[in-house]
Amino acid sequence: MEAVEASRPFRIATLSLRKPMDYTRRELMVIAAAREIRDGERVFVGMRLPLLGFAVAKELHAPNAIGIFESGVLRDWPALEPIFTMSDPPNVAGALFCCGLIEVMSLLQSGRVEMGFIGGAEVDCHGNLNTHWVGDDGRRLRLPGSGGAADIATLAGRCVIIMNHERRRFVPRVQYVTSPGYGDGAGWRERHGLPGGGPSRTISSLGIFSFDPVTREMQIESYHPGVTVQEIRDETDWPLKVAPDVTETPEPSRDEILAVRKYDPEGVWTS
């Protein structure tokens, strides 16, 4: 479950096509998400962009990946129609396995889910996510809560964080830890007994971020085409480090773009 407020996408289809891209930022995010899915993996694909990423990965390099939904649905093929939530009928008809939440979470807890996508209203420098409440000009703003995100963050083999990049969302320390990343850094997950591997990457609207293997601090791995390291730093509320081999996010291939558009022909999610 995304905690951020969504708009009715088919009414706000504001295109942001900028030269020299012939693809949108959101398309690039979907493609980046797809690239995180390895063939044969079982992946919590959640909703919206990762769901499309799953479809793209299946189409291209991960034909044997399985998409998992916490309501109890496992699919080896994308939903039969565009959907708003994991429980929508086109995501259930033609599923591979439809069990209960406990069974899906049991697969997760017993180490059989390699990856999960998660997001939040805030992320911090150690990849902790907050979907419970945030301060806003001295007022508290109550968000919907964890859903299954905290479970995925705790238990999945690895997590990929996917979020819009805004300074108010990329904060030094989240105000509330809903979905733990690396806590306060090195050794924290081990000390607290979290079985899963923690966040492997963050995909934002500006770049892709890895976590320093020693300090577990988020660092810029690549900036999206047309974005500078300085722009990313400006939109980040802590002194964001840069990986030694920082580079530009690889341009989407023609196949990747075509795959996104096959599953989102109207640009509902990606325009």
Partner: protein, 303 residues
């Protein structure tokens, strides 16, 4: 008292002020909206609502001042995001203060499972390191075999679970399919079950496929035939999600006055569920019907 009753009677007779009520068991489908609307019409008060993912149903009940406490993993609007009434209640105590107990989907499911199994807790590895691990529903427990530190989740026992299902017989034996979430765990954890269903079918239909029975009738206190009873959420094989309804509610409930108008239009100002369906209009209802069938492969229990 017969189990098969009208929705109005079922809610009047089975739901009391102050009860704990589990809804939203399938997470984002089969939400018993019609039952929730009827709870609002009957001005039930001081309820504790429990859920995994509440959909916007909890937001409606909170705005209508039926609720004093929420216990769940996610309260919002599954299509459009935040729940405005939920925010107003938590942030500004409008229309009344609201106590919140935070769970994750898995911890809530484990709490129900513990109650269903008749044990006071179940152990898990989830939520280690989350801030809401400090809630009173969680405690440390060591494995007596491995000495590992695990999280104990306290049993969650709602007074009643309200479930919408595809078909049931007059005794409340229910076939459910598609997306399930914690449906069976909620039924087995609760003190009693109130069912709404798309169709009442002969007992023999249930007996023809006992693996499809998710809730046996002896757990059920009342069953009401309420076609489209999950609207605007979907019921596999019977109705699609009504996306517009979600976005319209989201926009209208942005302030109290807008929510009150919404409530009058869709809940208080209509004559029960039939009036609600009438207000939706035949064309809209027709659009919600599935595009044809998608039949399960045949199965024989031959012996």
């Amino acid at each position: 008292m017969p189990k098969l009753r009208g929705l109005r009677e079922a809610i009047a007779e089975e739901i009391e002020d102050g009860m704990s009520v589990f809804m939203g068991a399938a997470l984002e489908s089969l939400i018993p909206f019609a039952a929730g609307y009827e709870i609002i019409r009957q001005r039930k008060r001081d309820l504790t609502l429990m859920t995994t993912i509440s959909d916007m149903q909890f937001d409606q009940l909170i705005g209508a001042d039926c609720v004093s406490r929420v216990c769940g993993a996610w309260v919002g609007n599954v299509a459009a995001g935040l729940g405005h009434n939920y925010r107003r209640a938590v942030e500004r105590r409008e229309p009344a203060p609201l106590a919140v107990e935070n769970h994750s989907n898995f911890s809530m499911a484990l709490g129900l499972k513990a109650a269903a199994m008749g044990v006071p807790f179940l152990p898990t590895r989830t939520l280690m390191g989350s801030d809401f691990r400090e809630e009173a529903s969680f405690a440390d427990v060591a494995c007596p075999f491995t000495d590992e530190n695990l999280l104990a989740v306290r049993a969650v026992k709602p007074d009643v679970a309200i479930l919408h299902v595809q078909r049931a017989d007059e005794e409340g034996n229910a076939h459910v399919w598609g997306n399930l979430g914690v449906t069976q765990d909620a039924a087995m954890a609760a003190g009693k079950v109130v069912l709404t269903c798309e169709e009442i079918v002969p007992h023999e239909v249930i007996l023809s496929d006992p693996n499809r029975t998710l809730v046996p009738g002896f757990l059920v206190a009342a069953v009401a035939c309420v076609p489209l009873g999950s609207h605007p959420s979907p019921t596999q094989g019977y109705s699609r999600r009504d996306d517009d309804f979600y976005f319209d509610y989201h926009a209208q409930s942005r302030d109290r006055a807008g929510f009150d108008e919404w409530l009058e239009r869709w809940v208080l100002g209509v004559d029960g569920h039939d009036g609600y369906v009438e207000r939706l209009g035949g064309e809209r209802v027709a659009r919600l019907k599935p595009d044809g069938d998608h039949m399960a492969a045949p199965v024989s229990y031959g012996y």
